[in-house]
């Protein structure tokens, strides 16, 4: 269990994998926001239903899912070899590969590359990896403006807000709020919102189109993430719905891609599996509208300068944990968020990481180490809905339990055990011997006046804040059984 402790996790203080605020506190604040509850409840239930329909259409979904898991497990088991193959292929086709141990190194590499190009601003394709490392803030502190071009990321950026969903980062906003953000903030960022802008979705899309078109036409550098990289040819792939990503990937002279090291697939044949699994799981589409693929540089066509930054940031540490490594199969579809009863009620900000929901509750503590994200493994009722919908069959409930063990074990060396640990040890001591349990069971009767008068100690009082307690019976089951003879 200690073999993986020596490997570096994602460093604290850079990027967005932990807020430091315990989940229950952040969740309590989110639960009081009835607008947020309404927006989220509506959005997640709609997408949930659509996903179920899109998946039910595919007769061999179970086999596709097993194939997706198997391909990713092969990638993880042979990551060293595939990464070197990718580097060789990208380099042979005119690209440059950079290796970043963590968020700080990745940010420094990208900043240096942008500075070398002479550009003062960059356009960005929606990317989880660059959100994870806090790239926009790093560029800003170097005097470089990074413009998000995905519509939802643009809404989040203009609103000086944080993404709350992997796929739909502005899921917590409704269109009236979006209109207000556009009217208030667009002018300072470039082309202002049209006069008299309404909250009609077509009008909002047109305002964003006009605003972004100026960015696309003037940008000399683009920064993207990658959904997949094909090791055998060095090809990178981005899938999206809007086409804004393709503008960034084709128009500027320089393209910098930041990609987690686990995003590889060995061959084009393997890509076929994921291009079926991903759109149906994430947007409930049979096929995503835009699939952009590029291999190195092609003279006279697209960027002439291509850089690939391979990001570790705790991934090798995750890979070293046998009970946690399958989290690296994740293809960021966010199906688990949309079915999660906890996410549906708290939204993404409560998780304090760019990866919210069930996958975030396992991935964030894996990347940072459990000490920086102690409460996230407990942010689940273990209902199992996430595992059922995961297109690469990550057993999230079992992994949450594993991470809870890591949290508990990390607290064991402390001189003073927590009240919880004392209670758990006492209960375990009682249950270890049938004779002890029999004696404690008989004491249950004494709970009757306590329940009747409602003088309750914690944690019973926490329970009783919203629920009545059951009245303990006069006779336990086993006493009834013995009387019966």
């Amino acid at each position: 269990m200690t073999t993986f402790l020596g490997l570096p996790t994602a460093p604290a203080g850079v990027g967005h994998l932990s807020s430091g605020r315990p989940f229950p506190d952040a969740a309590r604040a989110a639960l009081t926001d009835s607008q947020l509850r309404g927006n989220l409840g509506h959005a997640t239930s709609t997408i949930r239903t659509k996903r179920a329909r899109a998946v039910a259409e595919v007769p061999d979904w179970a086999q596709l899912r097993a194939a997706g898991a198997a391909i990713k497990d092969d990638v993880l088991a042979n990551l060293d070899r595939y990464l070197l193959q990718l580097e060789e292929q990208v380099t042979a086709r005119g690209g440059t590969v950079h290796w970043a141990r963590d968020a700080g190194e990745a940010n420094a590499i990208v900043t240096r590359l942008v500075q070398a190009s002479g550009a003062r601003e960059v356009v960005k394709v929606k990317s989880m990896a660059t959100q994870e490392i806090g790239l926009n803030e790093a560029l800003e502190s170097a005097g470089i403006a990074a413009w998000e071009t995905d519509l939802a990321e643009l809404i989040v950026q203009l609103g000086k807000d944080a993404p709350s969903h992997i796929l739909v980062p502005a899921i917590h906003r409704n269109r009236t709020e979006i209109r207000d953000i556009f009217v208030r903030e667009m002018a300072a960022a470039g082309r202002p919102a049209p006069d008299g802008l309404t909250d009609d979705p077509a009008a909002l899309a047109e305002a964003a189109r006009l605003h972004l078109r100026e960015k696309f036409l003037s940008a000399r550098v683009a920064i993207s993430g990658a959904n997949f990289a094909v090791a055998e040819t060095g090809t990178l792939a981005v899938v999206e719905s809007e086409g804004n990503g393709r503008m960034c990937l084709t128009l500027p002279r320089t393209l910098i891609t930041v990609m987690g090291i686990e995003k590889l697939v060995p061959t084009w044949r393997d890509l076929e599996v994921f291009l079926q699994l991903l759109p149906r799981s994430s947007t409930a589409e049979r096929m995503n509208p835009y699939t952009s693929m590029w291999t190195g540089v092609t003279p006279g066509d697209g960027p002439s300068d291509f850089h690939l930054v391979l990001l570790d940031n705790g991934r090798t540490a995750t890979l070293a944990d046998p009970d946690g490594r399958s989290a690296l199969r994740c293809i960021r579809c966010s199906a688990c968020l949309n079915v999660c009863p906890v996410y549906e009620r708290t939204g993404g900000h409560a998780y304090g990481s760019v990866y919210p929901g069930p996958i975030g509750a396992v991935l964030s503590p894996q990347l940072t180490g459990v000490a920086a994200n102690k409460s996230l493994p407990y942010a689940s009722s273990l209902c199992g809905a996430c595992y059922d919908v995961c297109p690469v069959a990550i057993d999230i409930p079992t992994m949450l339990v594993h991470l809870r063990e890591r949290v508990v074990d990390a607290g064991r060396p402390r001189a003073l055990p927590s009240p919880e640990r004392i209670a758990m040890a006492a209960a375990a001591w009682t249950m270890a011997k049938p004779s002890r349990w029999r004696r404690v069971l008989r004491l249950g009767r004494w709970g009757r006046p306590v329940v009747r008068r409602r003088i309750l100690p914690p944690p019973v009082s926490t329970w009783a804040a919203a629920r009545d307690l059951p009245m303990p019976p006069k006779q336990t089951f086993r006493d009834w059984w013995k009387d019966r003879g």
Binding site: A379, S381, L382, C383, G384, E405, P434, R467, F477
Partner: protein, 241 residues
């Protein structure tokens, strides 16, 4: 067939009527039931909260208490889920091969009540009568860990006089989740509120399920609302005549 009742600690201490109903039901169907009194708790709460080291003696005790039975039946989906899916992993990690072999053997013989009735005994009509309007909540571990599917519903549909109404969004978690209800009490309560809204929309007199723990949570909320809807375990309905 030598049948043992795995009472579960919660039913033993707080809901003895559920245990009595399970015994009466199985006896009415012509089977002799034994209750090994050395059983304590399966350790699910410890395991799911991260205290797997503390749960080890409970895993050992379970395998010892239930050795030698053909079938071990429990009125709880989540306790059966823990024994079937977690006990073998814990035992194998303990490095005691004899124990691991015994746990593997015992955990294969453990059944949730509806599984045992439909899959092992092959009955759907247990001869019950329960003239009430009832709605059924499929608890998460029965549904997704054990895959009991519609077995509880098939049993309920065969009960005389029972008016079964479909629960909207039935497969959504009620928000109990063991220590989740305490550690994330506010989220748990928000989930419970939506579950109760759906239950009240059915106009049912009775909410039933295969787990006393989830029913304690749902019933505790319904009682606080003075809603008049009663929580009744599936075993109690099937035992009623």
């Amino acid at each position: 067939m030598k049948i043992a009742l795995f009472i579960t600690c919660l039913v033993d201490g707080l809901f003895p009527d559920v245990g009595k109903a399970t015994v009466r039901l199985l006896e009415r169907l012509g089977h002799q039931v034994d209750v090994p009194l050395d059983q304590t708790c399966c350790g699910q709460m410890h395991l799911n909260t991260g205290y797997s080291r503390e749960a080890r003696p409970m895993v050992r005790n379970f395998a010892e208490a239930f050795a030698g039975y053909d079938a071990i039946v429990a009125p709880s989906g989540s306790c059966v889920g823990s024994v079937r899916h977690q006990h073998p992993a814990v035992a194998h990690r303990m490095g005691d091969e004899a124990l691991a072999a015994r746990v593997d053997d015992v955990s294969r013989r453990v059944y949730e009540l509806s599984e045992f009735l439909v899959d092992v005994l092959g009955v759907e009509d247990v001869g019950a009568r329960f003239p009430h309007r009832v709605t059924y909540h499929p608890t998460c571990h029965s549904l997704r860990l054990l895959r009991v599917e519609d077995k509880p519903l098939r049993l309920l549909r065969a009960v005389r006089g029972l008016d079964l109404v479909e629960l909207p969004d039935a497969d959504q978690c009620c928000g109990f989740g063991g220590t989740f209800a305490l550690k994330n009490a506010d989220v748990s309560t928000a989930m419970l509120a939506d579950k109760m809204t759906n239950i009240l929309a059915t106009d049912a007199e009775v909410i039933t399920a295969g787990d006393s723990s989830c029913l304690m949570h749902i019933g505790g909320g319904l009682s606080r609302l003075r809603s008049g809807v009663r929580p009744v375990h599936l075993a109690e309905i099937l035992a009623a005549t």
